[in-house]
Symmetry: C2
Subunit: 143 residues, 2 copies
């Protein structure tokens, strides 16, 4: 459902949400260790996210990655879409092209409600929403 790459990207963004801002940028090498993802790998993912303006960055000394106020309001789904593409999550769980609410495949009624629920959550929850949970102590870090 979610690729490894998407999960890594989410972890990295959440880490940035908690540990960066316009004034305090974070370098890849300081991200990769705490979130436990190889540096070269997460670097590539972060670059993709920058290109799509999900996160921000500057190069050179004092440079690094960070989230600004706009970035914080992106949904988790936006991250996934950049990394995995739009299609992956939007197809029938059984991958039947012809399957839809009108003509549900045999597993549709079993899987569909939970699945929609997940998708709706990923769409509606912003980065900010998620880290709020962490700060309230309802969830934990490090990732």
């Amino acid at each position: 459902m979610l690729s490894n790459s998407s999960k890594y990207a989410i972890k990295a963004v959440l880490f940035l949400a908690l540990n960066s801002n316009e004034k305090n940028k974070v370098m890849v090498k300081d991200i990769s260790q705490p979130i436990n993802v190889p540096q070269a790998y997460i670097a590539k993912l972060l670059q993709a996210l920058v290109k799509e303006k999900i996160i921000s960055s500057t190069r050179g000394p004092k440079g690094g990655f960070y989230l600004d106020e706009i970035n914080l309001n992106h949904s988790i789904m936006n991250i996934v879409n950049v990394i995995d593409g739009e299609k992956k999550l939007n197809s029938c769980m059984m991958s039947l092209k012809k399957c839809n609410e009108e003509k549900p495949c045999p597993l549709h009624n079993i899987l569909s409600p939970s699945r929609s629920n997940i998708l709706n959550n990923l769409k509606s929850k912003t980065i900010k929403d998620v880290i709020k949970e962490v700060k309230l102590g309802n969830a934990f870090l490090p990732l």
Copy 2:
């Protein structure tokens, strides 16, 4: 979440549930087309399911694959476990080893209930249950 292979296997088993029994076996070549999966591929998956006694088969003329009464009472989850292995579905959706109900990762509370729901359904629904839906007209085929 579910691999392609698992989905194919589920489709094949449901097809067999509707179109076979001890007396009327179905050959791979007559399965692959209607469920729209390459013959050599589905053959391999079916063989794995036979080995684990999720479905039945006999070779030679008049041979083929079929489900008996016992097979019909297996859960969908049993199919998935044979094809994908047990672990895949039982790990945190964010793949954090340390994540659990006590110490939920930031996405745990968002994803977990829906996820459990899907798993419980896959565990409790038998092949028979699912095809009943089809026969009642609440779901459609072909796959």
